[in-house]
């Protein structure tokens, strides 16, 4: 079967000694940053983009992907032991996981999280392998008008499912598009909006922008709030699950995996949404919903499986269509572009070893995570005691070297500086910068397809709504925005994010 040929090719790439090393490094770092509060995966990947510059593209993606799903694992560790979600997607794990830890069942909660995630990761790997080729084929048949509409849908989808004001998120995306257009025009070679600064000819550096807004931005926000964390004094308890517990978690894990696999593919979906939906589902299906919030093991099993499945299937739109559905995927696209690879449906045909290698490595990485997390849990707990004031100067240092090594000029540091100040201002004004990043990456592609579509349609702007597929996609985008804008959906959506 074709599927197995693909997975075999993928495994042969993933099992190359170099890639095993990068995969291990990725999940190790991911766990580390998931455990350490105040350092998120977006910022870390931004910091590490420059390092991936010097390695082959498959190794780079294997490393970055490892960081992403590794952070999901690490985030649940702190959620269970500290009532402190290292990752936003682990927020619901706190509800029951921390209660379990208080009752001396931390070991069982950790084991549930690890096993559920591993199961979800395995299934999601197959989902990606099965869903990607047909999606790619579909995307290949698209013309520029359809592609433009698809990108509009991707952007609006990512924006509408994000937290905060939809209007501001869309506005940030538009601003991102404009920033992405700075530099040379691909068609005519004219320099655009560079303010006559020669260094801006090649455009605004993605790594400087991402590091300034996310890496350094996080540092300042963390420094503002005083550190407070207390490691649970009670013992972790045994890691083995009883037969009874295994029976209890089996169905929630399967349901969580299903929910995560589906929601992860949606633009803006991914792990956060998946874990919330899974938790609500488990609470509704439980015979005795009042146990939830008091240490129900299903409340850990479902969301932990869902967020891992969602984290993985969110790679599908990025790998097959070149459309990032969340900031982490935007970082991956950034990494590909730095490597000179244009993300999109061509990747699977032109670089099958990259495509299938990354997918196979995810399964391998999930296996490593089980080994890394369960027996070594004591080491991670000890790491939690490192104060943030010892960590953040290193982050600043890494940002500096990182930007310098990518741009190879002192000017990159000034871009970093401006991005940092800009990021602080917009974040304080409640404008989340993630849509800006998506817009920044999609901007040039949006323009290219828009111009090409208009050229083919002889200037008929109606081409986007006359062509049936394009019109259908735009309609979906419109409906999505309208739904989010409806007052009562808005209210319940806010409640979900506040919870």
């Amino acid at each position: 079967m074709e599927l197995f040929q693909h997975l075999e090719l993928g495994l042969s790439v993933a099992l190359a000694s170099q890639n095993i090393m990068y995969c291990f490094l990725g999940v190790l770092m991911g766990t580390l940053i998931g455990v350490l509060p105040g350092i998120g995966p977006v910022a870390t990947i931004a910091l590490l983009l420059p390092i991936t510059y010097g390695v082959p593209p498959e190794s780079a993606l294997v490393l970055l992907a490892g960081i992403y799903y590794g952070a999901q694992y690490g985030g649940s560790t702190t959620a269970i032991l500290l009532s402190l979600p290292g990752e936003s997607s682990a927020a619901v794990t706190v509800l029951d996981g921390y209660q379990m830890a208080q009752q001396g069942r931390a070991g069982a909660a950790l084991a549930t999280a690890a096993l559920g995630s591993f199961f979800a990761g395995t299934v999601a790997t197959f989902v990606i392998a099965l869903a990607s080729p047909p999606l790619t084929k579909l995307a290949m048949s698209f013309g520029s008008a359809e592609y433009f509409s698809l990108m509009v849908l991707g952007l609006l989808g990512a924006v509408s499912l994000a937290s905060g004001s939809v209007l501001r998120a869309i506005t940030m995306a538009v601003l991102g598009i404009l920033l992405g257009l700075v530099g040379q025009d691909v068609y005519t070679g004219v320099t655009r909006m560079t303010m006559d600064i020669p260094e801006l000819m090649d455009g605004v550096s993605f790594s400087a922008l991402a590091m300034g807004i996310f890496g350094l931005g996080e540092v300042v926000r963390n420094l503002r709030s005083p550190e407070e964390r207390t490691v649970t004094k009670s013992s972790i308890g045994r890691l083995m699950l009883s037969w009874q517990e295994i029976k209890q978690i089996a169905m929630p894990v399967v349901r969580g995996t299903g929910i995560g696999s589906v929601l992860g593919v949606l633009p803006g979906g991914g792990s956060l949404l998946s874990s919330f939906v899974s938790y609500t589902t488990e609470r509704k299906m439980a015979k005795d919903p009042s146990r939830f919030g008091k240490g129900a093991i299903e409340g850990v099993a479902g969301p932990e499986s869902a967020n891992n499945a969602g984290a993985q299937t969110s790679f599908i739109p990025m790998l097959t269509l070149g459309i990032p559905s969340n900031p982490v995927m935007a970082m991956m696209i950034g990494a590909l572009i730095i490597q000179g690879i244009t993300p999109g449906p061509n990747v699977i045909n032109e670089r099958p070893e990259l495509f299938w290698g990354v997918i196979a490595s995810m399964w391998l990485g999930n296996l490593m995570l089980v080994v890394l997390n369960l027996p070594l849990i004591g080491v991670w707990v000890r790491l939690l005691t490192v104060p943030y004031r010892f960590l953040f100067p290193a982050i600043v240092g890494f940002c500096c070297i990182g930007v310098f090594s990518v741009t190879n000029s002192g000017f990159g540091l000034y871009v970093l500086l401006v991005a940092f100040i800009f990021g602080f201002i917009v974040w304080e004004l409640d404008c989340e910068p993630a849509p800006l990043l998506l817009g920044f990456l999609l901007g040039p592609m949006l323009e290219e397809n828009f111009r090409r579509a208009m050229l083919l349609a002889h200037g008929e702007i109606g081409t986007f709504v006359v062509r049936p597929i394009s019109a259908g996609i735009l309609l979906v985008a419109l409906v999505m925005i309208l739904i989010v804008a409806l007052p009562n959906v808005r209210k319940s959506r806010n409640e979900v994010f506040v919870e």
């Binding site: 869309i170 005519t188 909006m193 953040f392 090594s405 000017f411 500086l417 917009v426």
Partner: protein
Amino acid sequence: MQEVRVNKTVGAGLVFIAFAIAFAFGALQLDLGTLSQLGPGYFPFAMAMLLLILGVVSLVEGLRKPDVSTVTIPWRPIIMIVVALLFFGSTIRGLGLMPTLFLTIFAAAMADKRNTLLSATCLSAVMSVFSWLVFKVGLGAVVPTFGPWLVSY
């Protein structure tokens, strides 16, 4: 730290409008082209106009329903990080990796007043050696360990 009261919706609107005007101005210097043959200025100009509209909507919304909230500006961290970045950007070529990084991290460490001179020095020393190993030895960065301002060839 300083507490400032701002109307966030109005503030966001103003930021967006400012960017929109700047980009529209930049785009108008370029050829807009015709609809069947779009020039390099068309798409940026259209996006700038869209941004302008969205910015105005935000501004109006903020003026109609004033939501004034308090923002805390952590001056010390901001200034120390700005100093660190400016220092790094302007001296990396001259001083080289090690001295520049040492002082950059030292400046950054001073952003948190709980760091003492001693702890900042230790952090800087450890981090610059670590980064030297990763970037210079491991990844073969082209920048010299000690730059031309310190070592004459």
